[in-house]
Amino acid sequence: MTIQDTSRIGSVARDAARNDRPALSARARKIRRLPVQKDWPLWAIITTQLSILSGVIALWQVAADRGWIDGFFWSKPSAIYATLITFFTDGDAFIDIGFTFRSTIIGFLIGTAAGSMLGLSFWWSRNYAAIAQPFVICFESLPKLALAPLVILVFGMGLASKVAIATALTLVVSTLTTYAGVKAVDPDQERLFYSLGASRLQVFRKLIVPFCLPWIISVLRVNIGLALTGAIVGEFIASQHGLGRQILYAGQTYDIALVWVAVFVLSTLAVVMYVTVSWIESLLRKGVKQ
């Protein structure tokens, strides 16, 4: 009885499906085309970008002139431009830029190099790696900038303390990334080397280091940004030179135009360093891969 019932329901359902099919496709199925985006030519993109930029600057100027925004707190493009000129002609612009640039680069180099070596060193002993790992992770999760006042006390007001903070920020990133590379080495690849009678040093030099190079290179761009952050924070806390010190000083004296100028110069410096490091990175990548 039940068997008959279900079989009948089944056949009814099948008939219904068969009858519905043309109607369903005509009604419910929408005809769509693959969405295609048309790419603008490069000049159109750049023109638009420049228009937006000049639009914002013009609006800022007009708003400050008409009193829509408080010109004292926001400053305005014309005042900023005038300050920019004096900053470069009368002030210590190049001393400050040089100071920030130097502490960033030195910290970046020391942090990246030492971090990569530390990461690679974990390959040599699993015990050593296991012992060191919690310390490294602690140091990573620690907000290192919170230690900046201590660093200034220890290393003084000069370049050394800024370098130290920049180093601290970059070191951990390099260490952990390089160690991730070390752990990603195929154990079979190591077995192959040992089956050929290789020594530990040979495996390290001919397998581990070249294998980890792309990992080491991949953090360069991140690290240059971190190093700059470290240097600026160091200058914020106590310094006699640097763009960070200029920003802080200008803010404290309500020289808002100078704040903008220093921020603008700092951004330019950051972009120049970022582009340079990206370029070096692509060169290294080419050298490593092919």
Partner: protein, 263 residues
């Protein structure tokens, strides 16, 4: 001394400690292989073929027994035999030529001399024109060729091949078998060849060792008295089929679950 064999395994045992007690990966295995022989190992997964290879290559210390090469104890020493794993393990940052000389380089042969020695071989054995390419530009078959030449250029008398053609398509596999036999007759190496493919084992070898699991052991050594060079059609002759039947019988005996893997 030569009669005793190029490579001899004396009661080689291996057991691993597991949470549920000791697990015997290899029951005592005894095997003697004369110089220049081509010997195959076949068996179901987990029969200890790879363990045996690792022990011979010195990458694993056996629980007991000895590995003798040229009559001297070579247990636990590395760099005595050429070992090729199923993966080609070519270094992506080295050209084919520089990959092939890796063994010589590790043994301290100057780079220039090693390259000079490897170049003519690459050209003679089908890698001409590929010497200065990177492995990523090569097909699977070509990569295996490079890996095999790397093993040969390491210049040891004994070479271990662990399923070298396991990942290749059927067509390429047949070509590679012919190519391997060519190399073997040119170089006169002693070869131990692990495979899951019974036909491949018989076609290539002088002797097929059938292994079984739990514990891993050699259950029978079957000689292959078929004259070389062997035409492809040899696989259809009654002699060949008889050997194949015997192998399959051993592989399936008491190991119902292993049939699929063995075939």
């Amino acid at each position: 001394m030569a009669a005793l064999g190029k490579l001899r395994l004396d009661d080689v045992r291996m057991s691993f400690k597991t949470p549920s007690g000791a697990f015997a990966a290899l029951a005592p295995v005894t095997l003697a292989i004369p110089q220049g022989r081509f010997v195959s190992l076949i068996g179901p997964s987990g029969c200890g073929k790879s363990t045996l290879f690792n022990i011979i290559a010195g990458l694993l210390e056996p629980t007991g027994g000895r590995v003798m090469i040229d009559g001297a104890d070579a247990t636990g020493t590395i760099g005595r035999v050429g070992y090729m794993l199923q993966k080609d393990l070519l270094l992506p940052w080295r050209t084919v030529l520089d990959n092939v000389i890796l063994g010589m380089e590790i043994q301290g042969v100057p780079l220039r001399a090693a390259r000079d020695r490897a170049l003519p071989l690459l050209r003679r054995y089908g890698l001409g024109g590929f010497e200065h390419l990177y492995p990523s530009a090569l097909s699977g078959g070509m990569r295996q060729r490079a890996a095999l030449l790397r093993t040969l250029m390491f210049d040891t008398d004994v070479i271990l091949l662990d399923e070298p053609f396991g990942a290749l398509d059927a067509q390429t596999k047949l070509q590679m078998q012919e190519w391997l036999l060519q190399l073997w007759s040119d170089f006169g190496k002693t070869v131990i060849f692990v495979t899951h493919d019974v036909e491949e084992a018989i076609y290539l070898s002088d002797e097929v060792n059938v292994m079984a699991t739990r514990p891993g052991r050699i259950v029978e050594t079957i000689p292959v008295p078929i004259a070389r060079p062997r035409p492809r059609s040899v696989t259809l002759t009654p002699d060949f089929i008889a050997i194949k039947e015997r192998c399959l019988e051993l592989l399936t005996a008491g190991h119902g679950t292993a049939v699929g893997e063995a075939a």
